[in-house]
Structure formats: structure tokens, C-alpha cells
């Protein structure tokens, strides 16, 4: 168990150790030329995404949890759907739609008779565009957590504020919002972690930020040490976010002073207010899901014949097999960790589980660099050892193999399955085990008759979520995949990079379709998830 945790934290420590690594020439060069640009772009990107997800997420959460207007029930879960879009896919789609040759601009020209450069049209492939793209697909994190926080609030607290003279709106600003603040902060930090982790979008938009910088330094300049140093700086950003997120979650626990949960007050909106609320919820859904999905669908219809062939099937099979085996491994390891923690609740064990749980925050690019450095070192040692003593050259044993990829997936996604399995196991109280034992069941019978039926759903959920995450994963796969080994995500990225946006749509659409699975899982529980009922 401790071994597993050590192994999985190896990449993080490798990267972190590069902070102390002496600077070389290339690093000097980076420092003088692009580092400031990376810092500035990353900061602006984070600022923009934070502001936009905050407004959209909290606004929609408030409307769907405490107001009544047409379509409210539908919006409550449909607003999660943009989560199915990986950032890079929505970025290609909008680029295709808003490009000079795309349908929107063509339509404007046809309508007005203008020609090239006769009119102003915002450039989608810019910092502002990237902020818009990220906000459209990441606001559901803020929405999900703040909605849960609004729903958890005791009705008493809100009613007390009304009796003390607050109007509906001032009780929102003065009571509900401050109470939900820890959850909102946690949601924004999650959205920002995803923003920092992204490679596909920023690289497609040609933005200089850390993830693209790591790629350029590694593959363009061929300097692993400088790339790792960049990764280390990115890691510091991420850890700051992790600390903020954990800290605000911890505070959230102490917030409930009253435990009475009657049904929440519902403010009925009429007339233009209802229309406003409807639009406020409809636009994020329209731009974050309906429009890009429709565009992808149209493209897929056009290019379906030429794109779907034997190699596409093989590609899909590759992706599915890879994702399924990663998910199975993640669930198996998660079960091992969770049962270990339940059985031996020591400090070391708990700490190991916690270390493993940090991986999810680490950008795929960083994980990939952190995986490849120790593995390459190991490969080279084995190779030189064997060729010195036996005259055999093993070449790259691990770092160019599926093992490296699997290792990276575990570092990044094991946290997801551990969290899911732990929460499922947490519901099986110790007293249930004891009740079964007092009824003459042996521990192994209990596993079979009590745990298995109760854990089935959780294990399946954990499997699904890791499966989908692996399907969507881009940067780590791009760096670590064995030569000529392709997945849907990589293929979509490559085609889009060659400006064959329409051709990439079939692969992209499949990823989005798979991505909808956890969204539906989440949304099924969302209206039922109300404390005290």
C-alpha cells in the first residue's frame, strides 16, 4: 500500500525536484524570452475563466434551486451537459463555425455582400476565445457545487433572514451566498485546475502558456530538464489551487448550524423575470452544448463515409480497450486501498491514500513528463547494465510502452476511483459488518452477501468515470503513447491540427457521447440530492 503510494507519487516528486535543479542555457533562454508571456497568459486565462464560471455557475445554480420558472426541472440537469465536451473539442467546433470560411461568416457575407476585411469579426483563436471556450465547458463545476450548497442550506437560516427584514434578493446576497462561498470557491478551483491542465485548446489556439511551453521545450528544443522545470512551476500553481480547494471544503463542514430541512422556499418568477431566468439558463446550455453538438453532428454526417473505415474502427477499439483496462486497474487498486484503509486505519495508511488522491489535480502534461523521466532513467540503466555484462541492448523497455501510459493514467485518475469506492464503502457502516457477524456470518461470507451487493453500483460508477476520463485524456496520451498507437482523442487532435475540422468530427462526437455518460449519472442524482430527505 505504502509502496503503491510511493510509486504513484514518484512523478510528482520528480517534477518538484526540478525546482531545485540548476538552470542551464535553454532555461536562461526561456526565462528571458517566453516565461513572462506564459505567466501573464496563464494568469489572464485563470482570471477570465474564474470570473465567467462564477457568474454563470452561481447564477444558474441559484435560479434552478430556489426559483420557479418554465423549464426549471429540465435545466437543473441539462446545465451539466457541457461537461461532456473536452475543451479542445469545443474549441475546434467553434473555430470551424466562426472561421472566415465557416458558416457564420459566410452567412454574414452572403447577407450583406461584404467581402474579406470589410467588416470586423472577433478572432476566436485568441486569449478571449480560449476564456470563452473554457468557461462554456467548465462552469458546470461551479454550478454543481454551488447548487448542492444552496440545496443543503437549512430552510431555517433563510427564513430567519426574512424575519430579520431581508428581502428575497438581499437574503441571497447576505445569507445564501456567504453560506455557499466555500462550495463556490471549491468549484472555481476545480474549473481552474482543468484550465491549467488543458493542452489541446491552448495549443490549437496558439497560446503560449505552461502546457504548450512544456511541449515546445521538450519536443522543439529537446530539453527535458527545462521542460520539467516549467512543469514544476505549473505544479506550484496547481498546488495552490488544491490547497485553496481543500481549505474551503474543510470550512464548509462547520457551516450548518441548524439541521432542520423543510422544503426550501421557492420564489415564483413571472413575466419578464421568468423570461430572463429562462434565457440565463438557456444560453449556457445552447452555447456550451446544443450548438457545438449540432455542428459536430452536421460535420459527421458530411464526412461519415470518408472517415469511418477499418482504421477508424481499430482506433475506436484501441481507445475502448485502453480506457477499459485503465478503468479496471484503477478500480482494482482503489478497492485495495479503500479496504486497506478500512482494515488498518493507521496514520501512514491514511496518508498514503491522501497522496494518491492528489494526482487528479496534476495536469496530464506534468504527469507525462514526471513519468517519462524516471522510466527513461530506469530503461537506460537496465540497457547499459545488460549491454555491459551480456552484450544485449534492451532499448527502451518501459518508457515507450503501454506500461508508461497506464502508469500515467493511474497517477492522474486513481484519485477518482478511490474517492468513489471510498464513499461507497463509507456507507457500509462498521455496525453492519458486526451485525452480520453476530448473525453467524464469517468475514468472507460478509464480503459476498453484504459488501458485494452494496458496492456494485459504486464500483460500476468508478469504472465508468475513469473510463470516460481516459477516453477524453489528451496530453499524457500524446506524449506517452507507443509509436503509431492512436486513440480517438489523439486522432481528433491531429486532424484538427491539420485544419481538417470537419474530418475530426466523428471522433470528437464519439468522445462527447461517451462523455455524456457520467453527466447523466450525475444529473440523475442531482434533484434528489437534498440533505435531510
Amino acid at each position: 500500500m505504502i509502496l503503491l503510494a510511493t510509486l504513484l507519487s514518484l512523478p510528482i516528486f520528480t517534477i518538484a525536484s526540478f525546482l531545485l535543479y540548476p538552470s542551464n542555457e535553454i532555461w536562461q533562454h526561456l526565462h528571458e524570452t517566453v516565461l513572462n508571456e506564459y505567466l501573464l497568459n496563464s494568469a489572464l486565462l485563470m482570471l477570465g475563466v474564474a470570473a465567467a464560471t462564477l457568474v454563470i455557475g452561481v447564477g444558474c445554480a441559484w435560479l434552478t434551486s430556489l426559483c420557479v420558472f418554465p423549464g426549471k426541472k429540465l435545466f437543473a440537469w441539462a446545465l451539466l451537459m457541457p461537461l461532456a465536451f473536452p475543451g479542445y473539442i469545443i474549441a475546434y467546433t467553434y473555430t470551424g463555425m466562426f472561421d472566415f470560411a465557416g458558416p457564420i461568416q459566410t452567412w454574414i457575407r452572403d447577407l450583406t455582400g461584404w467581402g474579406y476585411r470589410d467588416y470586423y469579426f472577433p478572432e476566436i483563436r485568441s486569449l478571449g476565445g480560449a476564456i470563452t471556450m473554457f468557461s462554456l465547458v467548465l462552469y458546470p463545476y461551479v454550478y454543481l457545487l454551488s447548487r448542492a450548497a444552496f440545496l443543503e442550506q437549512s430552510v431555517c437560516v433563510l427564513e430567519v433572514s426574512r424575519t430579520l427584514g431581508c428581502s428575497v434578493w438581499s437574503s441571497f446576497y447576505r445569507v445564501a451566498l456567504p453560506l455557499a462561498r466555500p462550495a463556490i470557491v471549491a468549484g472555481v478551483s476545480l474549473a481552474l485546475m482543468e484550465t491549467l491542465a488543458d493542452y489541446g485548446t491552448v495549443s490549437f489556439f496558439g497560446l503560449g502558456v505552461f502546457t504548450t511551453g512544456i511541449f515546445r521545450t521538450w519536443f522543439g528544443l529537446g530539453d527535458g530538464a527545462a521542460a520539467a522545470k516549467l512543469a514544476a512551476i505549473l505544479l506550484m500553481f496547481v498546488f495552490t489551487l488544491v490547497i485553496i480547494e481543500r481549505w474551503s471544503r474543510k470550512r464548509a463542514r462547520y457551516h450548518h448550524t441548524s439541521s432542520r430541512y423543510g422544503s426550501l422556499p421557492q420564489y415564483r418568477l413571472r413575466g419578464y423575470r421568468a423570461l430572463l431566468a429562462f434565457c440565463a439558463c438557456f444560453f449556457p446550455l445552447l452555447f456550451g452544448f446544443i450548438l457545438p453538438a449540432a455542428q459536430l453532428g452536421l460535420w459527421a454526417l458530411e464526412t461519415y463515409d470518408s472517415m469511418v473505415d477499418a482504421s477508424f474502427v481499430a482506433l475506436t477499439l484501441n481507445s475502448v480497450l485502453l480506457a477499459a483496462s485503465a478503468a479496471a486497474l484503477a478500480v482494482a487498486l482503489a478497492l485495495f486501498l479503500a479496504y486497506g484503509k478500512r482494515q488498518f486505519s493507521g496514520k501512514v495508511v491514511t496518508a498514503s491514500v491522501r497522496v494518491v488522491a492528489t494526482g487528479y489535480a496534476i495536469p496530464g502534461t506534468v504527469v507525462a513528463v514526471g513519468v517519462i523521466i524516471p522510466l527513461a532513467w530506469f530503461d537506460n540503466r537496465i540497457d547499459s547494465l545488460l549491454s555491459d555484462h551480456f552484450g544485449i541492448s534492451t532499448g527502451l523497455l518501459l518508457s515507450g510502452s503501454l506500461f508508461a501510459l497506464m502508469f500515467a493514467y493511474m497517477v492522474r485518475f486513481l484519485a477518482v476511483s478511490v474517492q468513489s469506492v471510498e464513499s461507497g464503502l463509507g456507507k457500509i457502516r462498521q455496525s453492519m459488518d458486526e451485525a452480520a457477524r453476530s448473525l453467524s456470518y464469517t468475514p468472507s461470507q460478509i464480503l459476498l452477501r453484504v459488501h458485494l451487493p452494496l458496492m456494485k453500483a459504486t464500483v460500476l460508477t468508478a469504472f465508468l468515470i475513469v473510463f470516460v476520463d481516459v477516453m477524453k485524456e489528451l496530453p499524457a496520451t500524446l506524449i506517452l503513447r507507443p509509436f503509431n498507437f492512436n486513440t480517438l482523442a489523439v486522432r481528433a487532435f491531429e486532424l484538427a491540427g491539420d485544419e481538417r475540422l470537419a474530418d475530426s468530427s466523428t471522433a470528437a462526437l464519439m468522445i462527447v457521447a461517451v462523455g455524456l455518460v457520467p453527466v447523466l449519472l450525475l444529473s440523475r442524482g442531482i434533484s434528489a440530492a437534498r440533505a435531510g430527505s
Binding site: 457502516r429 452480520a436 457477524r437 453476530s438
Partner: protein, 348 residues
């Protein structure tokens, strides 16, 4: 020996910390025992040691004259023939009520299982809920199912760990009486753990009052209230005050409230000072009495008033008066002592 449960000089604890210190008691078949004490006194540890979830450090436990725990050996819980009702009931959420009750009957044939399940559900008054799932039941109903499940295999000992603590206060005593009658119906030997003395009085034949890992006194509720052996039991069971007194003879003492005649020999020489326990029901409101005191505080309790009185000497006592005697605060009322059981403690 005919007893159903024997706990002999039991020491037990968690990690390095000893929780139980020389705990001994026995129960006859069909008897209901109760471990009563404040939280952290070790009462739950006693129960978990009997169940086999905790090992004995020293001493031993016998169930039905079979040794199940000693310092070297601990029979696993599943082989002890016990039934247990947990504080949170621990019903299996994925099983229907009838399957929960059936859970411990896997050694019986299909038809016998069905018959026993029906019988148990009838005893606890839940036959209509056989097909329901635990989350569809109220707390009291879950409690009954948990009881039926624990009793279904006819265990040698039934263990109940604070079974009413999740219930509404008004329901607790009623449920305790109900559970008692169900246990008596099946002639079960049972051990109850609780911190609520009313629950203990309503349910148990034998009560062990525990404090800091030791049994302070064992007896019926009547004995514990009227014949407490030490200050802890006197203080923990019921209400009352302790006032100073002078020993006059081997059976009488003199207090500010008057002379008290006891039935038993006082363990102190005449002329020395002792402390005397005065219960609220030992002080009778009587306007004809020569003694009087001032009402400091009062609590109306429906059938009676509990008055807190201060006497001229500054000593405060409590007095239980019929509910018709409504006096104001600061009013002076006549009182006299009517002590059936004289309880004295040497002064410290």
C-alpha cells in the same frame, strides 16, 4: 452453575488504554441485565467483549456455561450464538425487511425460514412491512426489524447497544416496555446498554451502574434509588441533595430538618458527623409542621411540583409536592422529613 451469562473479573481495553477494570456479573436464563452509566464509562466495551468484537485482557466470559473469552482465546463473534441490536440498527439497506430477518437463519430449511420470519414479524408487530425496504421505515419500525433480526436465530444472549438513543424522548420508555415484553415472551436473556436510567428501570431486572470502567453497584432499580452504596450511585440515580448530620445512636442521626430514624446500623460512632442523602420524596410539604423553608425555584411537572427550598440555616433541599400545592417563589412553606431509607456516607 445455571447462569446463562457469566462475566468474571474482566479487564479489557483498546490499544494501550485499559477501559474495563475487574468487571463481574451474571445473568440467569430469561433475565434482562443493564449496563448503566455516563458516556465513556466502559459500558459499551462490556457489551462488545461479550459479543466477541473486543478481546479480554484478563478474566473470562462464559455464555451458557461455555467459555468464549479469556486472556488467551476469543471465540469469533459468528460462533458465539449471540444476537445484537445496534445503536444505528445496521439494517442491510439492499434487503427487504423479511430478508433482513431471514439473514441469520441460513442454516434452516426454506420453509422453516419462512415460518420463523413470519413468527418474528408478528411478534414485533410488523407483518405488513415484510416487503418494505429499510429506508421506507420510521426509526421505531427499523428498531423492531433490528430486534426481530437479532432474535430470529434464538440466540443464547441478546445484546442491545443503546437501542433507543436514536428515538424521540417520548417514545423511549414506551419502546423499552414493549421490547421488554417481547423479550419476556421469548424468554430471552439480554444485556442492555444505556445512559438513560428511566430506560434501564423500564426494561431491566438487574442494573449494573458503571463508572470509569468499574461496576459501582449492581441491583434492581429500587435498590439503586433507595440503597445506593456510594456517592456516585446516589448522585447518578435520581435526584437529591446531601446534607450534614450528627450521629446520635447506632440507627439515628440528627439534621437541621429533624431527627431521622433508620432501619440499619450506621457505620459511624455516635457524636461524629456524617452526610445524609435526602431525596425530593423524603421531604413532605406540611403546613402544620414546625419546620419551614423558602421557595427558591420551582418546576411544574404535571402530576407534581418539584420545589427547591432554602432553610434558615442556608441548607437547600428539594421537595416533591402534589400538583395542587402551588406556592410562589420566596414564599415560606412548612416541611417535614419522611425518610423510609436512611442513607449515610462518611464525611470526606
Amino acid at each position: 452453575m445455571t447462569s446463562q451469562l457469566d462475566v468474571e473479573n474482566l479487564d479489557a481495553g483498546y490499544d494501550d488504554q485499559q477501559v474495563l477494570n475487574q468487571v463481574s456479573f451474571s445473568l440467569q436464563p430469561g433475565e434482562i441485565g443493564c449496563m448503566l452509566g455516563p458516556s465513556g464509562c466502559g459500558k459499551t466495551t462490556v457489551l462488545r467483549s461479550i459479543a466477541g468484537f473486543e478481546a479480554a485482557w484478563r478474566g473470562r466470559i462464559l455464555i451458557d456455561n461455555r467459555e468464549v473469552s479469556n486472556s488467551e482465546f476469543s471465540l469469533p463473534p459468528e460462533r458465539r450464538n449471540i444476537g445484537m441490536v445496534f445503536q444505528d440498527f445496521a439494517l442491510f439497506p439492499h434487503l427487504k425487511v423479511e430478508d433482513n430477518v431471514r439473514f441469520g437463519l441460513q442454516r434452516l430449511g426454506r420453509q422453516e425460514q419462512q415460518a420463523r420470519v413470519q413468527e418474528m414479524l408478528a411478534i414485533v408487530g410488523m407483518p405488513a412491512y415484510a416487503q418494505a425496504y429499510p429506508h421506507q421505515l420510521s426509526g421505531g419500525q427499523q428498531q423492531r426489524v433490528a430486534l426481530a433480526r437479532a432474535m430470529a436465530p434464538s440466540p443464547a444472549i441478546l445484546l442491545l447497544d443503546e437501542p433507543f438513543s436514536n428515538m424521540d424522548v417520548e417514545l423511549r420508555e414506551q419502546l423499552a416496555r414493549e421490547v421488554r415484553s417481547i423479550l419476556k415472551l421469548e424468554n430471552n436473556t439480554a444485556v442492555l446498554v444505556t445512559h438513560d436510567q428511566n430506560e434501564a428501570f423500564a426494561m431491566a431486572d438487574q442494573i449494573c451502574v458503571m463508572n470509569e470502567g468499574s461496576i459501582m453497584q449492581q441491583g434492581s432499580g429500587y435498590d439503586l434509588y433507595h440503597r445506593p452504596l456510594n456517592r456516585f450511585v446516589a448522585d447518578f440515580i435520581g435526584q437529591g441533595v446531601i446534607i450534614p448530620a450528627t450521629v446520635e445512636s447506632t440507627t439515628t442521626v440528627k439534621t437541621d430538618l429533624g431527627r431521622i430514624q433508620g432501619k440499619n446500623r450506621i457505620d459511624a460512632s455516635p457524636g461524629s458527623m456524617v452526610d445524609v442523602l435526602i431525596r425530593p420524596d423524603d421531604v413532605v410539604h406540611d403546613d402544620a409542621s414546625g419546620e419551614s423553608a423558602i421557595v427558591v425555584e420551582k418546576a411544574f411537572r404535571g402530576a407534581d411540583f418539584l420545589y427547591f427550598l432554602r432553610m434558615d440555616s442556608g441548607i437547600e433541599v428539594m421537595c416533591l409536592a402534589p400538583s395542587h400545592h402551588n406556592h410562589k417563589i420566596n414564599e415560606r412553606i412548612g416541611i417535614r422529613l419522611n425518610v423510609d431509607h436512611l442513607v449515610t456516607f462518611s464525611r470526606t
